[in-house]
Symmetry: C2
């Protein structure tokens, strides 16, 4: 191996990929814009490929950039893990953390309790609400780190898990057989709502929005009490719910993409520690293990 890559460059690269801007990325990694620009230039020269497309307006990853990103992330995670492991004394501080309420119930307790055990001096201040509100709050600086779900299309933040979405009904209920189909879902802004509505229209299925709430438990209750049919990601399924099989005439839904988003200042050791913990606890994405499968 001639000379290994420079993690500093990869860090800048990932920062740009995350926020879509050289200037903003520079702030995050505590460098000037020119330094970041030159780092990327050197990285691209080193690998002999264009990694980012600069369209004046926005910056996005090329295919090669995508291929690099996943692996670079992995290396940076391991790097942060090492630094965390060797950091003297326990890390201390407070993290304002946001998570969609549908995941909160199932996943949070496990994840946060094991995190608290290894990092007793980090206080995690948890907020549970819909992804849209979390993103809103992130904009005004209310959180340091949030987990949120996004549609299949636009990707920003750090994608670390995908999940199948299922139509669900109550066991032995009538809602599923009703026409038009009564549906329980989040408010207008709900990311999945648009996807589901579009899918229903595509198969010309009659439906009506029978129940709306920005509270996930409220929606679950509506489904469980047979008021309506709902759609949920795999890990939000609850006992008493019945997954509607593909044989029914309901359209297949797109996958839920779960990502991590940091405030621009949240790139320190304690944030890395929590982010790493979440990704390794519930992440289900990884680069294909062998190059065999990764090669084009």
């Amino acid at each position: 191996m001639a000379v290994p890559l420079d993690l500093d460059q990869l860090q800048s690269f990932c920062a740009i990929a995350d926020c879509g801007s050289f200037t903003e990325a520079a702030r995050r990694v505590h460098k000037t814009q020119s330094a970041v620009s030159m780092q990327i230039k050197r990285l691209e020269e080193r690998l002999g490929r264009l990694l980012l497309t600069r369209d004046g307006r926005s910056v996005s990853l090329t295919n090669h950039g995508e291929a690099l990103y996943a692996r670079a992330r992995k290396m940076l995670r391991t790097n942060a893990e090492i630094l965390d492991h060797f950091s003297d004394g326990d890390l201390a501080g407070t993290i304002r953390f946001g998570v969609p309420d549908d995941y909160a119930v199932r996943l949070l307790p496990v994840i946060l309790s094991s995190f608290q055990r290894t990092h007793p001096k980090i206080v995690v201040d948890v907020a549970c609400m819909a992804s849209e509100q979390l993103l809103e709050g992130m904009k005004v600086g209310r959180y340091d780190l949030i987990v949120f779900t996004q549609g299949t299309g636009s990707t920003f933040g750090e994608l670390f898990r995908t999940e199948r979405m299922f139509w669900v009904a109550s066991h032995g209920g009538q809602a599923l057989a009703t026409d038009p189909l009564p549906i329980a879902c989040g408010p207008q802004c709900c990311i999945w709502r648009a996807d589901a509505v579009e899918a229903l229209n595509r198969v010309s299925k009659d439906y009506r929005i029978a129940y709306t709430s920005s509270n996930a438990t409220a929606i679950s209750s509506a489904v469980l009490s047979d008021l309506a049919v709902g759609f949920l990601p795999e890990s939000a399924l609850q006992p008493g719910m019945r997954v509607v099989s593909d044989e029914q005439n309901l359209p297949r839904l797109g996958d839920a993409q779960i990502a991590l988003l940091r405030a621009s200042h949240a790139y320190g050791s304690i944030y890395d520690a929590l982010a790493n913990h979440i990704v390794s606890s519930m992440g289900n994405l990884d680069v294909h293990p062998t190059l065999a499968s990764a090669a084009e």
Copy 2:
């Protein structure tokens, strides 16, 4: 994250861990001894721990060093994977590769065929024989890269897989019930032989070495034809063999440790490519995913 670690330092660190010498490691990474010495000094300062113990004669890893080593290796593998992925044109060259014959049968075809598919221009010259002979051949420069198995004690080379060892007999055969127990195994030098013999003595089991060969297929045949009982690692088990359950009075055997060893010159892109491929294809070791479990 203040400033990420330097992969260059980690590379030197791993090279030292692999060969137990600053001077030799320096040759491998194409630097002077002083440069390597200073790199380690900086790395130890950075992490605030002693990573290597220099006892004048030999150099070995401290506990902190061990913890770092596994993660550093992972990063270096990913690094090599990236460079491989982006290397222009197909890598070309010849690799003189050695592998124990017991593994050759089961694993080689799959591994090498997928490797050839992604790296058609790399010629892999395969030698199949017992680990001891491979190590012997490595000493005199006959191989670039070998896979070999070692006992539970001494570790050198790059450990990437462990496997349970099983006592095996033929289906419905008599050998297992015979007293003293007839055993088929490798020659004197066989690593497992000492372990098995020691285990038998520990439980005061009478046995006799009934069949000896340095050829793994010969031993398998002896077991299959009920001439004797044998002991094999999990992945060398073959149809027609019966694993002797723990209820029988045979002692539990230690695990087989499978490692990779490179010639001192074999640190280039094509060697990395094959080494990575092998490790990701058949490796079953990894750093614990979360720090939770890794913390002391």
